[in-house]
């Protein structure tokens, strides 16, 4: 039942109410009471809701009290100026999380008015609404906040890429499981010879290639940086046995990470929201640089940023192909911000 007690309108002079961080938006709040209302407090705030595959997160900004201890009269029209400031994070529509911003009014009734509204709700069996009649009289209008327009900046400390894939422990475990499986299937100890053969095959198939690759190359150093043309530079420093490396393939991606802690178990979602082009170089030099474009600011992307159980990270992925035909994969996070903007206060 809208407008049964109080009609509220929020109007912005800027039609689509879209703001950059720090930008001020001006508007008007128009109140038309349908009954006499004794108001203890009335005002507005800017509220963010993060919604998705996790508990809702909220953030309040810009809280402004407009009136205190005033009686609003039925039939009158009251007008108040509204001023809001754009903040971070920007409005975002993601895979497992979205950020919505809105201007929301709040009201605290007092005296008879509170009882009047509550009783009216009770009469209509709106029992849960009657617990907080004030809430029933609040209203909202969506606003859109944009990401800042300043260039990206990358922290340029040297990083090393670690080999992804099996750890020695997990390899050992897999090996053991296969071995015992073989013992069961091949009827130990009658077929001991077959089992040993099986173990040797496993060793050649999984374990030796892993250690061979690790010995060839288990880490590559690199430095991430921003170029003068606002591009992303990834400068790899390859080890001296690089002659065994036939090809270097590089890509970066931005990942939306959401931890779902609702309920008695937890689950983490990693969803890439942006993937760069893949660049490659054959027989790379000791120092090999790759230059990438940053994502377009109009696309729905994020810098390295965290709020509660939600975070966004940038990750460099490297595939190295060796002369003998095998390949190793490496991954490392880089921290990307925007100049003159603090996303992680």
């Amino acid at each position: 039942m809208p407008h049964r007690f109080l009609e509220t309108q929020i109007v912005f002079s800027n039609q689509n109410s879209t703001l950059f961080p720090g930008e001020v938006g001006k508007g008007e709040l128009i109140l038309k009471p349908k009954i006499d209302l004794e108001v203890h407090l009335f005002g507005y705030h800017v509220a963010m809701e993060g919604r998705g595959q996790t508990a809702v997160i909220t953030k309040l900004n810009n809280e402004t009290v407009l009136i205190k201890n005033v009686k609003l009269l039925k039939g009158e029209t009251y007008r108040y100026d509204v001023e809001i400031v754009g903040v971070l994070p920007p409005t975002y529509a993601g895979e497992n999380i979205s950020f919505y911003w809105r201007v929301e009014t709040f009201i605290e009734l007092q005296g008879k008015s509170y009882d009047q509204v509550r009783n009216s709700l009770l009469k209509k069996f709106k029992l849960l609404a009657a617990i907080n009649p004030n809430k029933k009289l609040s209203t909202f209008k969506s606003v859109y906040f944009k990401a800042p327009d300043t260039p990206y900046s990358v922290n340029s400390i040297p990083l090393s890429l670690n080999q992804t894939g099996f750890s020695p422990l997990s390899i050992g475990l897999v090996f053991m499981i296969f071995f015992f499986l073989a013992c069961g299937l091949l009827d130990y100890p009658a077929n001991l010879g077959a089992i040993i053969l099986f173990a040797i095959v496993l060793l050649f198939a999984f374990v030796i290639p892993h250690y061979y690759k690790a010995r060839l190359l288990d880490k590559i150093e690199f430095v991430a940086n921003t170029t003068e043309n606002n591009q992303l530079s990834l400068n790899f420093i390859l080890p001296d046995n690089r002659k065994k490396i036939s090809k270097l393939k590089v890509q970066y991606k931005i990942v939306e990470k959401v931890i779902d802690d609702r309920g008695t178990s937890s689950y983490t979602y990693h969803h890439p929201i942006y993937r760069s082009a893949t660049k490659e170089k054959r027989t790379p030099q000791k120092n090999t640089e790759f230059i990438f474009d940053f994502p377009d600011k109009n696309t729905n992307t994020m810098v390295s940023f965290q709020i509660g159980d939600i975070s966004f990270y940038w990750e460099v992925n490297v595939i190295i192909e060796f002369d003998y035909g095998g390949e190793s994969t490496f991954a490392q996070k880089i921290f990307v911000e925007q100049k003159d903007v603090n996303w992680n206060p």
């Binding site: 998705g52 996790t54 849960l128 809430k135 309920g263």
Partner: protein, 205 residues
Amino acid sequence: MLNNQSIFFNNNLTFRFNPFGGITPEELNQIIVPKSFFSKIKNLIESPTPIIIELVGKKGRGKTTHLTFLQQLFPHLPIVHLTKNNNTLTDNLFTEKIIFLDSIHHLSFQKRIQIYRHFDKVILTTHQTRILEYKWARQKHTNFYFRGLKKEDLQQVIENRIQSALLHPTKEKIEINEAYLSQLILTFKDNFRGILNHLYENFKH
């Protein structure tokens, strides 16, 4: 077969957000379809007898949802949602007589026994029953199993979720795709959260 279908037939609804994700405590009040034993638990909390009330079941069956909803009926009582990183109880909680504890397995055995003995009433959620622990602590206990999912209840929750996610409330009936609903129950059985996650992923704005 489950993909690329819509759970509702109405095609003129405008949504504020995906209706199948996380919800606020206020929305929970409008959405939840409480289990039949809900009022029994409420009475137990209101009665003066000390007791441990265990909500037990596999993940995604509604234990935490019910615990959160129950606590909202007793807003003066504390509720703690324990997680891997948030696994301690602050000292001031121990001045209370009744506590709601979500995911008690994040606490150590000693801590759990201490809690069973300290509070008059503990309402907790767990994957497996902890009867032996309550006996060890010599406390009276009762348990409520979360299993099974009625199609009508699921349908009601989905309707409620759609209503509360709309930009403007509608008087229009939400037409639920019942064949799809049956398929969901066949696939996910009573895994309520599994169904909601599936609907979240397949929701198109």
